[in-house]
Each structure stands twice: as C-alpha cells, then as structure tokens.
Symmetry: C2
C-alpha cells in the first residue's frame, strides 16, 4: 500500500510563527496615514490590540505561539499532508503532487489559523467583542468559531450578495453564537451612505470592511476591536504554521527538495502560509518556483500596479504598499468569493516585486474543470478558491510530463467546497461564464490611486 497522507504528532506542531519581514532583502514599506506619513503603531490602537500591532510591525524572524493558542490549534493541527496519488495516475505524470489539507478545520479552511490567535490576543487585552467582514463566509465563520472557543462576542458584516446566496455560511456563524448582518447595512454610517446612493447594492468586501471598522471603533465601551482575515502582516504570520508543517511532512515522505509551491491568492494569506517558509529557502539559494494563482477577473498581482492604496472602499484604512486594482474596483461575481479582493498582502506584494514569486491568473471555468477532476479522483470536494491552486498544480504536472521530469509539486488545499456547491451546480448547468478583466475596466479601477504617494520599487535583482 502506498502511503497517501503524512501526519505529524501534536507534539511536533510548530511552536513559533515565521516572519518573512525578517528575511526579505527589502521588507514591506510602512502603511501611510491621511497625511502621507507612516502610520505610528499607537495610531492603530483603537482598531487592534497592542500585541497584534507589535506583530504587524515586527521584523523579528520567529515569534512564539502562546501555549493556549497551540492548545486550540491542536483541535485540527497539524493538518495532514497528502500525496495526490490518484490524480497523478489520472494525469499520467511523473510529478509527485502533494497537498496540504487545510479543509480539516472546524470552519473548513485555513482561516482559523489566524482567527484563533486574533481572538485570543483580543481576549487577553480585555476586549469583549470583535467585528469583522466576510465575503463568501469562510473568514466570518472562522472568526465566529474562534470567538466561541475564546469567549468573545462576534459581529460579522457579510457581503449582501453572499448573505443571500450562501445561507449555510451564516447558519454556521449563528451556530457558534455570532451575529451576522448583510452589508451594506443601516447600522453604520458607511453602510447608510452606500444604501442612500443604491438601496439595492449587492455589497463588496471593501464596503463590509468599512462597516466593520466603524462598528469596532465607535463602540462606546471601548472593548470592541476589529479583526481582518487576510492582507495584514500579522495574518500572514499566523498562517506560516502551514508551510512549517509541510516541510517536516515532505521529509517524512522522503522528499529532499520541492520544485514548485502553489497557492490561490485573494488577500494572500493561505498562499503566504504555505509559501513563506519556502521563500526563506529561496532567498537562501534554493531553486523553487513559487506561484500565487489569482482569478482572471480580479488579477491584482498579474495586472494591477504596485501602488499605495486603501484596503477598503470608504478609505478608512491606511494606505498600504501593494498590488492593487483600486479600492473602489468591483470584481465580477465569480464563485471564488474569497479571491474577489482589489488588493494583495504587502508582504506577498514585496516578494513579487523582488521576483521571488511568479504569479499567474486563471479563468473560473478552467478552475471548475480542475475541481471536478479533483473530486472524482481525490475525493474531497474543493472550495472554488482552492480550485485555482488545483488548476495550477495540474498544469505544472502536465508540464513535468512533457519535460519528462520527476518534479515535486506542493500546493495548499485551502478549504472544502461543501458550503459552495451552488457554484458546481451552475457549472454543470453551463450557467457560469469567464470574466476576463478588460483594459478599460482596469484603467477605471486604478485611476482612483492616481493622486496617492507612489511606493519605491525596491528589488535586489537577484531572482
């Protein structure tokens, strides 16, 4: 019998998070405030607890994971590393395809890896409540789960179109005791302003972020904070347990090197979680292709400029140095809701600027085709976001076949698709379309950034 999964003991869980900022030749540029000057950490305190702000700005390479956080992560971590033997056979590839199964968490994706520590640090800081936004619902349900375990109230602003289309995600949040409202809502100024202009507005992640930040900072008790599920440095940090575990598990599988690392990328967190520990190896000389995969309809890394832009529609967040399609950009309604974000993690963005990563974009029909092949060979039904990574892994495996090379391919299976089956239904019914961003849409989107400061493009030219 061929071994199909490689499982670490709990005692072998990573005890520290890995901070790529310590190793990037040029760490990410600082966020800027409304005055165009770098934001000082204390300015963020109405929004985040100090401990998380410290992580956000830290350049320490290793940051200890608190014991109580580890104990909660152990509910599903270390996640198994799988070898996709049955897919390899179906493709007839000489490549060995491995995937890290992050769908085993209670919320069904990698998101709880950061939801748990964020909730815990907020609880430690004396907070009683967290506000956040969610698109397709992966993040909102992860934070609801984490708040249930830690003992915090949780309010989630869910993009209205998903709120209506994905009632099961809302029910997950409610089962864990959270409150979930459709965004734009009439409970915030940001929401009311949008509704005044367009009462039927389907919402967007950018709007929901504005609402959640406002709800957090305007709570008179002062004991509510905001929580973000991607983009920020401390979120990438918390996800690096994925890549650290994967390294140990590849060694268990007898692999001495890995050739290709793949993850889907919306805000960047699952991709960063798997890839950053390997980026460190690449900086130190290892030869690895590191591939973030984004949707062709929302291609920040492959078509957006590297620029300073807000993280939200209302412009409440500081300006971040990142690849962006413009913070008012409204992505096409693809089913991979978690990839419908205009920007990209500043850490991932800086690594791309450096040439450490080779982003690519895929249309959604190609991804659904890959997802169905996956489900019928490997069994687990993937989330639409995850299908982008699968499609790239298949392409790389086919390339290895053409080249006759025994490549080792590792990708992040970021979550299951059991809450997203309506997308499959539409795919089978021929009701899904591809949405490639037009040049005109791109130009319109990025115009919003034209008067913002321009970030320095710093690259060593080594990769």
């Amino acid at each position: 019998m061929m071994q199909v999964k490689f499982q670490l003991d709990e005692k072998d869980m990573p005890r520290q998070w890995y901070n790529l900022a310590a190793d990037l030749p040029n760490p990410p540029l600082p966020p800027l405030g409304p005055d165009g000057k770098p934001v000082r950490p204390e300015m963020l305190e109405p929004v985040f607890p100090k401990s998380l702000i410290e992580q956000e700005v830290s350049t320490k390479r290793w940051i200890d994971i608190p014991e109580e956080v580890l104990q909660m992560l152990a509910l599903w971590r270390p996640s198994p590393l799988y070898r996709a033997l049955r897919l390899e056979k179906a493709l007839g590839t000489p490549a060995r395809i491995y995937y890290k199964n992050e769908g085993v968490s209670p919320a069904g994706s990698h998101k709880p890896n950061t939801a748990i520590p964020q909730a815990w640090y907020n609880k430690q800081a004396g907070m009683t409540s967290l506000c956040t936004e969610t698109g397709a619902g992966q993040w909102g349900s992860a934070l609801a789960f984490a708040c249930a375990l830690v003992g915090l109230q949780c309010k989630v602003f869910m993009v209205r179109i998903s709120f209506n289309q994905k009632p099961y995600r809302r029910l997950m949040m409610e089962t864990w005791g959270a409150t979930c409202v459709a965004s734009p809502s009439n409970t915030t100024n940001a929401g009311r302003q949008v509704l005044a202009k367009d009462p039927e507005c389907p919402g967007s992640l950018g709007i929901a972020i504005s609402e959640a930040v406002e709800a957090a900072v305007s709570d008179p008790s002062g004991k509510t904070r905001y929580s973000l599920g991607s983009v920020l440095n401390h979120v990438m940090l918390h996800q690096t347990v994925i890549g650290q575990e994967a390294k140990k598990q590849l060694a268990m599988a007898g692999e001495k090197k890995v050739d290709v690392i793949i993850g889907c990328a919306g805000g960047g967190s699952n991709f960063a979680g798997l890839s950053f520990p390997f980026v460190a190896d690449k900086i130190n000389g290892a030869k690895i292709d590191i591939i973030p995969v984004e949707p062709a309809s929302c291609p920040s890394l492959t078509r957006g400029p590297f620029a300073y832009d807000h993280g939200d529609v209302a412009g409440m967040t500081p300006l971040l140095a990142m690849y962006s399609l413009g913070h008012t950009f409204m992505p096409a309604p693809i089913h991979a809701g978690g990839l419908r974000y205009h920007g990209m993690s500043p850490l991932v963005s800086q690594a791309v600027v450096e040439g450490l990563m080779a982003p690519r974009s895929y249309p959604q029909l190609k991804c659904y085709e890959a997802a169905v092949l996956w489900a019928r060979t490997e069994g687990f039904i993937p989330a639409p976001e995850t299908s982008h990574a699968i499609a790239a892994a298949i392409d790389e495996a086919k390339k290895a076949k053409e080249e006759g090379k025994e490549k080792v391919i590792l990708f992040n299976w970021s979550g299951h698709g059991l809450m997203d089956l309506v997308g499959y239904q539409k795919y089978f019914a021929g009701q899904l379309e591809d949405h490639e961003l037009s040049d005109a849409e791109l130009a319109e989107g990025i115009a919003v950034m034209k008067n913002y400061p321009k970030p320095a493009v710093r690259k060593t030219g080594k990769w």
Copy 2:
C-alpha cells in the same frame, strides 16, 4: 499542552474486519423468504454480488480487507480519536470523554467505510452500476463518492422531502457524477404505485429502498446491483474498522479500560462499527456499558418488538429478525433523517436480545441543546444524528460527576452537520418540536407484522 487527538499511522490501519456473528452466543437468525423458509444465499444474487453475500452470511471472526480497498480508505483513515477536553471542562466532570471523529471522510460521515468496499466488490464482480436509496443524503453521497473512485455509475433514490429540503446533499452526489432522483419517482413500479395513491407523498426510506432494489434487479444488462448503507451484516462488518482503531488509540492515550461506549442508532451501522469490537471484550468478561441511542420518535430498540419484518415498505426484501416498529411505520419528520428507520440491524438486535447493550431514546430538542454546547466548546458542528450520541455522552459525564467517578466514555462522532444547518436554524428560531411516539402509533405500526413468523428469543442470561 494536553494532547487532544490521537492519530494512528496508515500502516497501523486494521487489515481485517471483525465479524461479531462469530462471537455472539446466539448469532442472528437467518432472513426468511416469502415462503417463510430461510433465504438461501444464491437467492440474493440478483441483488448483491457473491462476495458480499458471502460476507453477509459468514460466521468467520476476521475477514481480510482487500489491499485496494485499504488504499482508498487511507484517504481519510485511520480517523482521529479525540479527547473532548473543552467539553469536560464545561461540564466539570471527572470523566474522560473520547470521541472518534468520522466526520473527516470526504462525504463527512462514517458511511464511506462501507461504500468503498461495496463499490469495489461490485466492480470486481463485473458490475457497471449501483442503485441505492438515501434519506438525509449521508449514504447517497457516500456511495456517489465511492463509485467515482472505483469507476461505477451510481443512481440514488432520495426521499422526496429531503431531496427538496437538502439540495446540497444532492449537489454533492452530482459533483461526484451520480444521478439523484426524488423518491417516490415515476421510474419504478414501486414509485408509481405510491404516487397513484398519493401524488404529494413526501417519501420514506422504506419506499426508496423498494425503488432502488427494483431499479437494480430490473436492469436488462444484468450489470446493476443494489447497495444498502446500513442494517445488513456485511455493512456492520465494514464499519468495525472504527472500533478497532479506537482500541489502539485509547491505548495511545494511556487508557487501560473503557467504561461506556455510545453511538447513535438508526439502522445501526455507526454504532456497530464502534461498539462491536468492544462487545467482543464484554462477551469475554469486560465490564462495559454499551449504549445505542435512538430518537424518541423512532424508538425501534426501546419500544419495538423483536420480530420478523421487511426492510422496506413494499415488502421486497426478505424478512429480517430485528427490533422493528413495522415496515409501513412513517416516523415523524425529525431532522436526524438517518435515524428515521423502522427497523434495526439484526446483529445489533440480537446483541440487545442477549442483554449486551442498553439502548435508550432521546427527544430531538435535548439533542440540539447538546449539539450547540458541543459546537461552542469542541468546535466541530455535529450532524443531527450524531447529536444523539453527544447528548448521551453528556448525560454519562454528568452521572460520573454525581458519582464522583473517573469514568472513561467513548462515543462515535458519526458525522458533521455542515449539510444540516437548516435544523440548527429552526432550533434557534424555536420551530422544532419533540415527537414522542404515542402508544396508539406504536400499536398501529407493529400491527403490520402480526401474521409474520415469530423469531426465537435466544439469550444466555449472562449479561
């Protein structure tokens, strides 16, 4: 850090299934045909392949698991054994509560443990297609998954009320390439007869079984067989990997004995899978309370007679010696659809007759209360069926607290509830009711069996 889960390596997977029929002081009575005589194995060949019929009637203690079946089971097995540390703390109990997490399979429950071997044996026998029925959809999706892996067509008759209420389950089946039709359907005589009397009939498991058996035996190619997800001896057999793994994992956790074994019981398969290897210990002198938990609205073990009855509504199956509420009994529409079955596995039934098990029944509101406490402490959202086992584990833990005893409680967490969130929604909205079976309903149900042969009640009187 306290260890929360105990994980076996793939190489430690059980290589044989355990057959309780070899150890029961009185093995189950044979099924009877229309003439009242025991059914000969060859009479079942239009319905099942020979290999499975051999397992059905076998009294061999150990039966080898084929290597190719093991390779597919390894996609999610061995399943983790968890210690419910956070629930223990919430209850303040001295008991140590362990649970076997069968929700990690691609279909989300224990059902693929038998779907995979059933599909494989049918493929080996030259079949091209399988037909089955499903209630809430756990079994239908498990068989769809197994057929995708093995390479068989799959047709599922899904009880109409669930077909309409649980579209996600149907979408799972379709994603794996299966066909799913609402039952009663107009594609079979059995279905047409029911529809002629009641065009709005919401369907039942018994009707769907009749349709699936008819569809299988009437396929002119002769290459279609029927597959059942519970009740039969070979199904119980395939599930015994659960209990065998659990024994090794309890040893890893340092436990020298177990005091209480719990599982929810509809047709009996998840309960049997966990408990049968421990029943063997009990037969050999170990002191263990073994508790099947059924819904108060469908209490075959706790209120039904031990009798000969059909497994389906149309009376197409042989008569089985089992606890039954009558094969025309229509259970109340509780959300635990997998527990809405009039009968019970003959092997489980005979063990209950012997006094080896102590069945109990619970109303559904108590079970939802337990499920919500579970989700908010242990994180994973349970299926409504599973919540019956959780409620019993909580009761046993409270009893241990009253008695001041450090009991070891083990239960089967048979599946996750991510496809069943509408039940939670109704629970939170106060829209769910308890349905205790009235004496009149019971009398009406069991009347259908009054002219059938009566099984001998054989008990050693030892337990």
